[in-house]
């Protein structure tokens, strides 16, 4: 079991409020990603759950039990750090076994568990090596091995892939997701990369300036962002925002439309503009269009699109996919 509940959790460092009233329900076995710009408090929130920081107020429940006064080791969680944080003087075996050794398990049992974890992660040939003799991806796997071997209630990941190169990151992303599904253990994962968040998560928590902006499945966040911040943060390229007045909807402060929901239409249809840059990526073409008083708009088109800079275009938004926001940036529900 690994159900984690946050109730009005607050954290301040001196006069600075890092986390403001966080309420969250993480279901057992789910993969939850905390995402947000740097400094939004996502790592702090994770460290509060881990017990590496003390809460200023509120409760953290693990399987229904308040753990705010319980030391990190007794919370039954394990953590994978951004820097891997392997013990440099211990072999891979020693690193993975350390937690079990601290728990006082008998030697044969430790050996059996370490070997099972190593086999899961393809680390068996490296068990007697020191961390410095391993590549970045292997080190990352050792860090994960150290986390899974203890059979925790939940895994906590603090930007574990950000030190890897792009290709390896994609591969490890798949491996971590697969492993979590296979073990069925709750996972809380921190990242600033929204692609990681979208691809890995069962549910995403979008954080901004210490506040939880929205909590939902990746598609919910994409299709029904609760406010301007989430709308702008989720999705790449970023959602286009135009003022409601300029777009002919005076009751709405801001109108949002994703680049993939802008259609290049016939002349006289929709918003007129001039292509300022066309990026041909092969599979897609991104058009950056100067639409006069509406500002710059980004449109995502199919790959073989022959428009080039200077061309005149007409952009028509998919009416079903328009997002409307009020003055406070909150979504307007119809």
């Amino acid at each position: 079991m690994g159900q984690i509940t946050l109730q009005r959790v607050r954290k301040s460092f001196g006069p600075v409020n890092i986390i403001k009233d966080a309420n969250l329900d993480i279901e057992d076995g789910s993969f939850v990603v905390f995402v947000g710009p740097s400094g939004c408090g996502k790592t702090t929130l994770l460290r509060l759950i881990a017990g590496l920081e003390d809460v200023t107020g509120g409760q953290i429940l693990i399987d229904g039990r308040n753990v705010v006064d319980v030391p990190p080791a007794k919370r039954g969680l394990s953590m994978v750090f951004q820097s891997y944080a392997l013990y440099p003087h211990m072999s891979v075996r020693g690193n993975i076994a350390f937690g079990l050794k601290m728990a006082g398990l008998p030697r044969p049992e430790i050996d059996r568990k370490v070997e099972a974890a190593a086999a899961t992660l393809n680390l068996t040939p490296y068990l007697d090596r020191k961390p410095r003799e391993l590549s970045g991806g292997q080190r990352q796997r050792v860090a994960i091995g150290r986390a899974i071997v203890r059979e925790p209630k939940a895994f906590l990941f603090d930007e574990p892939l950000s030190n890897l190169d792009a290709a390896l990151r994609v591969q490890m992303r798949l491996e971590v997701t697969k492993l979590q599904k296979q073990l069925g253990t709750t996972a809380v994962y921190v990242t600033h990369d929204q692609v990681e968040a979208m691809t890995m998560a069962d549910k995403i928590v979008v954080l901004n300036a210490g506040r939880i902006e929205q909590y939902g499945s990746p598609l919910e966040l994409y299709e029904r962002p609760a406010n301007l911040f989430v709308a702008g943060f989720i999705g790449s390229p970023k959602m286009n925002f135009v003022s409601g007045e300029a777009a002919g909807e005076p009751g709405v402060a801001t109108l949002g439309v994703r680049p993939e929901h802008l259609r290049i239409g016939k002349e006289g249809e929709g918003w007129p503009g001039t292509v300022s840059v066309a990026e041909h990526l092969g599979s897609d073409t991104f058009l950056y269009v100067d639409a006069g008083k509406l500002g710059m708009l980004t449109a995502r088109c199919i790959g073989e699109f022959s428009l080039k800079a200077g061309d005149r275009v007409w952009l028509s938004p998919d009416p079903a996919r328009l997002h409307r926001f009020d003055k406070e940036g909150e979504v307007v529900r119809k």
Partner: protein, 276 residues
């Protein structure tokens, strides 16, 4: 861009390095050579380099006239004792400053270092008087105390820099893994800090061994370490270069041997953790 290293360049820099090394080593070599000369040859002009009458008579005289073992033992006790006590105080001090710093930690470190900027002679009279009143003159305890206090700032600084290098994440990982503070210390921190502890220990021992100002001023015979033993050959009965050299050679021999076997640790210590 990597600089191109030609073989000529390597040759020139190697020669320069050897030349420079020899220049530094020359006084020590000269001292050792002089210790095997007769007193007459020791100050002969022009000086003789290798072709002189080799003799071990100076060593015999030095051994006969003063008790080398007594002074060497004092050196070991004073240098070892002061180093040990300094480490016992410095490890927890540096530890807390590295892992639980406060707003004032930087200031405290700087203040400690500033005490090393004051010339020791400035406090010689008050310290001498205090030592006299407390009966610490010419006592090993007195020397241990003053050398320990003198080197403490450097020891704390060195250890602080070493501990700073240990990533906080690793300590947190150990905490997540269920290690108590004691086990964290034994299984994680100490093994990681051992190179730093060893080089600090060695450097401090050498500094204490060679310290001459306080040992010369605060001890005469009972507690006198090897520095006093050397000095006793310089003034009272005129200059005896050959015997002075023999005494000096005897005094530095142990520390040179120690340094030779621990060069790797020492180099790391002297670069203060600048190189990883």
């Amino acid at each position: 861009m990597a600089r191109k290293v030609t073989s000529r360049r390597v040759w020139v820099s190697t020669t320069a390095a050897w030349l420079f090394g020899f220049l530094i080593f020359l006084p020590i070599l000269w001292m050792v050579l002089t210790s095997f000369k007769t007193e007459l040859e020791a100050f002969a002009m022009p000086p003789t380099f290798l072709f002189f009458h080799w003799t071990t008579e100076n060593y015999a005289t030095v051994q006969g006239r003063s008790d080398y073992v007594h002074h060497a033992l004092n050196s070991i006790i004073v240098a070892g004792g002061s180093t040990l006590i300094a480490m016992i105080i410095a490890v927890p001090a540096a530890w807390s400053m590295a892992f639980a710093p406060t707003k004032r930690t930087k200031d405290i470190l700087l203040w400690m270092l500033s005490t090393k900027m004051m010339p020791p002679v400035g406090v010689l009279v008050p310290i001498y008087l205090i030592y006299r009143d407390f009966g610490l003159l010419d006592s090993r305890a007195g020397l241990v105390l003053i050398l320990c206090l003198g080197n403490l700032p450097i020891v704390i600084w060195m250890l602080f820099t070493y501990f700073k290098e240990i990533p906080k994440d690793i300590l947190e990982a150990a905490r997540m893994d269920g290690a108590t503070i004691g086990r964290e210390l034994v299984y994680v921190l100490t093994p990681m800090a051992i190179p730093g502890l060893a080089s600090t220990l060695l450097l401090n021992f050498i500094l204490a061994w060679n310290e001459a100002f306080w040992t010369l001023n605060l001890s005469t015979s009972d507690a006198a370490p090897l520095t006093v033993f050397i000095a006793s050959y310089s003034s009272p009965e005129g200059l005896f270069w050959a015997k002075l050299s023999a005494a000096s050679t005897l005094a530095i021999a142990p520390i040179i041997i120690l340094g030779w076997f621990t060069q790797r640790q020492l180099v790391r210590g002297l670069t203060f953790g600048a190189v990883k």
